[in-house]
């Protein structure tokens, strides 16, 4: 198992973080070191062990499906880097 430069580029793309070529090399070393270290889990036999979903044994609470909040567009969009007419504004995505 080894994360090469191409893999770094691929996961950086998936994570939407620009990583230039020079950084890819350094990151591949660091990621390999960390992944090599966590690899020790493979020595444990976990056959039949239920993967943990919640540390507290509880049933998911349900609430009534009603509108109980809202009607303050200005507060919701207040921190947006760019907004217009009560909407978030983004670079053009459709030509």
């Amino acid at each position: 198992m080894s994360v090469d430069k191409n893999t770094v580029a691929k996961i950086a793309k998936l994570a939407r973080i620009r990583v230039d070529e020079a950084q890819q090399e350094a990151l591949s070393g660091e990621l390999n070191q960390i992944l090599g270290w966590v690899e020790q889990l493979s020595e444990l036999d976990t056959t039949g062990v239920e993967p943990m979903t919640s540390v507290v044994e509880m049933t998911q609470p349900l609430r009534e499906d009603v509108v109980n909040d809202g009607h303050y567009v200005d507060r919701v969009t207040k921190n947006a880097p760019d907004s217009a007419h009560g909407f978030y504004a983004v670079p053009k995505v459709v030509e």
Partner: protein, 493 residues
């Protein structure tokens, strides 16, 4: 009145009740103390105007007989809690300038209980770190120094600003959050008390998420009683956090009976790790003796999967972080760096907005969750997490609490352990297992290292049994009689 900043919360509440001083006077003393200790870089934003206004309102409430449990107590708020109208950054560049339009439940609970906000305390970026060296707003300096040296030490992390300002007598208490040790380890490094409650005890709503299945808020104080008082104010059910647990909040102070006779204290043999400094081992032995002398019974126990806790954590926490931090996309809040296309804008924004450690964890998390690796890493880690939780369940069939060291070393110098991420991760070797199991833990200062810096001991409890934990912690605090003061302290030593 210069000694106002040395009081405990309990003493300050009593002093104000007796009319010896007002919340205004107490707050003014602390506002000045915050200014005096700016060299520690413990705050990202100071909020003296808010503090003084809250203090005046608090004095009015006290006069009208409606004082809350934290009435008039000046505290620092970790800059991971959203505070309405006050910038909240998680110590990141990407959230620089973000001013929440809502209040986190825990901070709201504290204000409702009468607490006063001195400012937003510095932390590791997005709470990822163990030395408070990953903040975009600079390192936090530990008020403690090694004997005969003025080299800067780390206060631990991620709640480093909270720990430093409480230790330096600039805030009476502070909020922290703990994902893998971020309350307990800085408390140990800074000679204060830090309590991580059971997962679900305090609401996570409005707390900037790092790893949602692990994050938990808790108090950082200078005494066990103060931790009990502050936890009572912070805890409680919140319908806005679906993992918040609907249990009554006890008056935790009432648990401090001083009587631990007959309690069984587990001593996990797997926590005796090769290479742990001898003085850490000695402090642990001393802790065992203190509890034995108070009538408790130490029992050796086994938590066989302990050594797998850190690697498990460093799969689960990055996985959840990569998912949680996907929301910082330059659209809804925070910084944006423009690009040719939407994807370009995302990539530029996130490259410029996140620090190196945050990026590293997002990339690890993305990798372990990606197609083809999900089972081998993420599901495997969740299975091992079950085994770790089962270890504790089994142990608590025969013991009431567990005693361990908090950290494998005293505070280290800023700049040490920086080149090797794994060496840094090992700081949390004693705190991470209980985090994975969701259990409550508390760190108490037990004495000084050979370097003259604080050491901490950790007690772990059963889920939602903070009361027994506090009871034992109170006895240990009494036995330790820790009264040393750090070198860099408000008003001088």
């Amino acid at each position: 009145m210069s000694n106002l900043t040395h009081l405990t919360i309990a003493d300050a509440l009593s002093g104000m009740d007796k009319g010896e001083f007002t919340a205004r006077e107490l707050t003014e003393a602390h506002v000045k103390a915050v200014e005096d200790t700016r060299a520690l870089n413990a705050y990202i934003v100071e909020t003296p105007e808010i503090a003084l206004a809250q203090a005046d309102a608090s004095d009015k409430r006290r006069a009208s007989g409606t004082a809350g449990v934290m009435e008039g107590i000046p505290i620092a708020m970790k800059d991971l809690f959203c505070t309405e109208g006050t910038q909240t950054t998680a110590a990141s560049h990407i959230l620089e300038g973000f001013v929440p339009t809502y209040e986190s439940t825990v901070s709201g609970n504290l204000w409702n209980a009468g607490a006063v906000m001195l400012g937003k305390s510095n932390l590791d970026q997005f709470a990822m770190g163990s030395a408070n060296i990953t903040s975009y707003f600079g390192n936090v300096i530990n008020p403690w120094q090694r004997e005969g040296s003025d080299a800067q030490l780390t206060p631990g992390g991620s709640s480093g600003g909270s720990a430093a300002t409480v230790a330096a007598r600039a805030a009476m208490a502070a909020t922290g959050t703990d994902t893998g040790g971020s309350i307990r380890q800085p408390a140990a490094f800074s000679g204060i008390v830090g309590l991580k409650p059971t997962y679900g005890r305090c609401s996570r709503w409005g707390v900037i998420a790092f790893a949602s299945s692990l994050d938990q808020a808790g108090p950082m104080t200078r005494s066990v009683r103060d931790a009990a008082i502050m936890l009572e104010a912070m805890a409680g059910y919140d319908a806005k956090d679906s993992t918040s647990v609907n249990l009554p909040v006890p008056r935790y102070q009432d648990a401090l009976t001083g009587d631990i006779r007959g309690l069984k204290v587990g001593i996990p043999k797997e926590y005796r790790i090769d290479g742990t400094p001898i003085e850490i081992e000695k402090a642990w032995e001393q802790g065992i003796e203190w509890l034995r002398a108070a009538g408790a019974e130490p029992v050796e126990i086994s938590l066989p999967h302990t050594k797998y806790a850190l690697p498990t954590y460093y799969i689960i926490a990055p996985a959840e972080c990569s998912s949680n931090l996907a929301r910082y996309d330059g659209v809804r809040y925070g910084q944006r760096v423009e690009g040719k296309s939407l994807d370009d804008m995302y990539e530029n924004t996130r490259a410029a907005g996140f620090g190196d450690e945050v990026k590293r964890r997002i990339l690890i998390g993305t990798y372990v969750l990606s197609a083809g690796y999900y089972d081998a890493y993420y599901n495997k880690a969740r299975q091992v997490r079950t085994l770790i939780a089962n270890d504790f369940k089994k142990a608590y069939e025969s013991v009431d609490v567990i005693l361990t060291p908090t950290a494998p070393s005293p505070a280290f110098g800023i700049g040490e352990k920086m080149d090797d991420p794994i060496a840094m991760y090992l700081n949390d070797v004693f705190t991470v297992p209980a985090s994975l199991a969701g259990l409550p833990g508390i760190s108490i200062p037990s004495g000084l290292s050979s370097e003259g810096t604080p050491l901490g001991l950790q007690l772990l409890g059963r889920a939602f049994d903070e009361e027994t934990l506090l009871r034992v912690a109170g006895v240990m605090e009494q036995a330790a009689g820790f009264s040393a003061l750090p070198q860099l302290i408000a008003g001088g030593k």
